[in-house]
Amino acid sequence: MSKRILTTFMIVFTLFLYAPTLLLPIFAFNDSSIIAFPLSGFTFEWFYSLTEADELRGAALNSLIIAAASSVLATCLALLATSATVRYKFPGKGLMIGVIMVPMFLPEIIIGVSLLTVVLLAGLKLSIYTIIMGHTLICTPFAIAILRSSFQQLDPSLEEASLDLGETRFDTFRRITLPLIMPGVTSSLLIAFTISLDEFVIAFFLSGTEPTLPVYIWSQLRFPQRIPSVMALGTLLLLLSIGLLTLSEVLRRRSVRRLGQHDTSGAW
């Protein structure tokens, strides 16, 4: 009896979570510009229409550049911050971590407005570079949260052993630390990439004439006849996200197996 209730609950819950997402591909292939049931027919038209939209291609390219740049920047900054905070004690450490982690909890609208003010005060032009700055700011706390656990799992005597065997600190980082925290670095890159890719508020405030993909999509929603194309675009983004998540999990499992570690974390 109670088992049946639990099963029902689980099914309803899963539907609630994922059914809306399934509407995306359904309408992306529907041969009608009106988003409503019943479906009228099957078509690839909306996907073709994407290839003709130059603005869309520009936005997608902007998004990819911004996501790549800010994920790399955020991961590098996080590497520096975590190796300092996990390994060393110094005055003001707690405060420093706090200040770095704050953007994770601040409403994005506040970050967006303040960064816009700063950029305008500094006399800078709004461009993809200002968006990269904003995205690096919000991605860094996530990267730190991921890398912190990688660093904490790393036995400090491995680094000491490397120093003891005659390697310099830099070569120790290159030969021991980096390979061993690589799963964390990969996760950090992929997650920061995903966060940047679908971030809207900050990108909206900081983009000038070069919109990102979410900003472009938002601008298209004003035109009802463009909605099916947006659905097609959404379908592609959905596939990309699933692909990235799968890739990061496959990489993580492979490295856990390769290092013979016990797999303590499930899929994130």
Partner: protein
């Protein structure tokens, strides 16, 4: 080989090393023995260069180590966790430190093969490091350190993670390795038996200080203080009153035993108001049979407990006029009878059975 002079070290308000001075000779097997928190590992890490010191000096092979980082010191270390690099094969682990020497592939392979042979892991080179057992990891850690031909090999509790049988095997193997290579070994351990069986000399540490430094035999036979005495095997501690000192011999009245003339210990100092007690090892007293009189001194006592252990019998006895229980161990020879609880016996001993022990240090 290693000169440690007046080393002081604090962690915040915690005094980790107090005025540590000792000289480790070339080619000796030296042990730092002490309970956890005694500063023995901190001292080892100081020699390796992982810990800075507040004052004092570390000199290795005639060269001051002030400001010399671990990677530039003529020491190599076997870590307690072994610190085997998990993303490398056994051979890559062993060859790790050779990179800087640019020996070329053939020479490196030769040296790795030789080093693995020395520690009994010939043919294990291609194994993944994480597929090894505890004992094998330890051997890889040894090979990885020894391949660099260090002047000093530092070992941080290398046997504590192994089971008893393997530990005993590794003890004698380490000893043989040290003798055949002639390298100075410095071992950190909390196991007194390990320190006794393996070392040429042992420094016993308590609370950041070297309490006594001597050969294993001397430490066992003539411990300077109560703490050191209790750390090595069993020791009966009895109240003692110093009656006089003449020519290095202390006349002492020992609780239950009476007056004894004991040679003054190496580091004992009867001046300065220190408190002393007397120590007598269980095996240095004899429960006498009737009519037996092989000992210069005898005291009447009563047996309060008997513990038969095959090879030995342990007696708990109380001397007349004393409430302190004293343990006497007897070898069970063919003609010796086992005494019973409540039996009145005579305990035989001599001056050399007793040592004078400092209460604190």
């Amino acid at each position: 080989m290693i000169e440690l002079s007046n080393i002081e070290k604090h962690y915040g308000s915690y005094h980790a090393l107090r005025d540590v001075t000792c000289h480790i000779k070339e080619g000796e097997f030296f042990s730092l023995l002490g309970p956890s928190g005694s500063g023995k590992t901190t001292l080892l890490r100081t020699i390796a260069g992982f810990e800075g010191i507040d004052s004092g000096s570390v000199v290795i092979g005639g060269q001051s180590m002030a400001g010399v980082p671990p990677n530039k010191r003529p020491t190599n270390m076997v870590f307690q966790s072994y610190a085997i690099f998990p993303h490398m094969s056994v051979a890559q682990n062993v060859a790790y430190g050779l990179r800087a020497q640019r020996l070329g592939k053939t020479r490196t392979t030769e040296m790795v093969t030789e080093a693995l042979g020395k520690v009994g892991l010939a043919g294990y080179g291609e194994r993944a490091a994480h597929a090894l057992s505890g004992g094998q990891r330890q051997r890889v850690a040894l090979a990885r350190a020894l391949i660099l031909k260090p002047k000093v090999l530092l070992l941080d509790e290398p046997l504590s993670a192994l089971d008893r049988k393997l530990r005993e095997e590794m003890q004698s193997e380490l000893r043989h390795l040290q003798r055949s290579l002639g390298i100075t070994f410095v071992l950190v351990t909390h196991d007194q038996e390990e320190a006794l069986t393996m070392s040429d000399r042992v420094a016993v540490m308590f609370e950041g200080e070297i309490a006594q430094l001597d050969t294993p035999q001397a430490l066992y036979k003539r411990p300077a203080s109560k703490r050191v005495a209790e750390f090595f095997g069993a020791m009966n501690i009895l109240k003692a009153e110093i009656l006089g000192l003449k020519g290095g011999i202390v006349t002492t009245r020992i609780e239950g035993l009476g007056v004894a003339e004991i040679p003054l210990g190496p580091e004992a100092d009867t001046h300065g108001g220190n408190k002393y007690c007397a120590g007598v090892r269980p095996e240095l007293m004899t429960v006498l049979d009737d009519g037996e009189s092989a000992y210069p001194k005898e005291n009447p006592a009563i047996v309060t407990d008997v513990e038969y252990r095959g090879e030995l019998t342990y007696y708990d006895v109380k001397f007349d006029g004393s409430d302190t229980p004293v343990v006497v161990s007897m070898r069970n020879t063919t003609n010796r009878e086992i005494k019973e609880v409540g039996q009145k016996v005579r305990i035989g001993w001599e001056n050399a059975s007793a040592v004078l022990l400092l209460e604190q240090t």
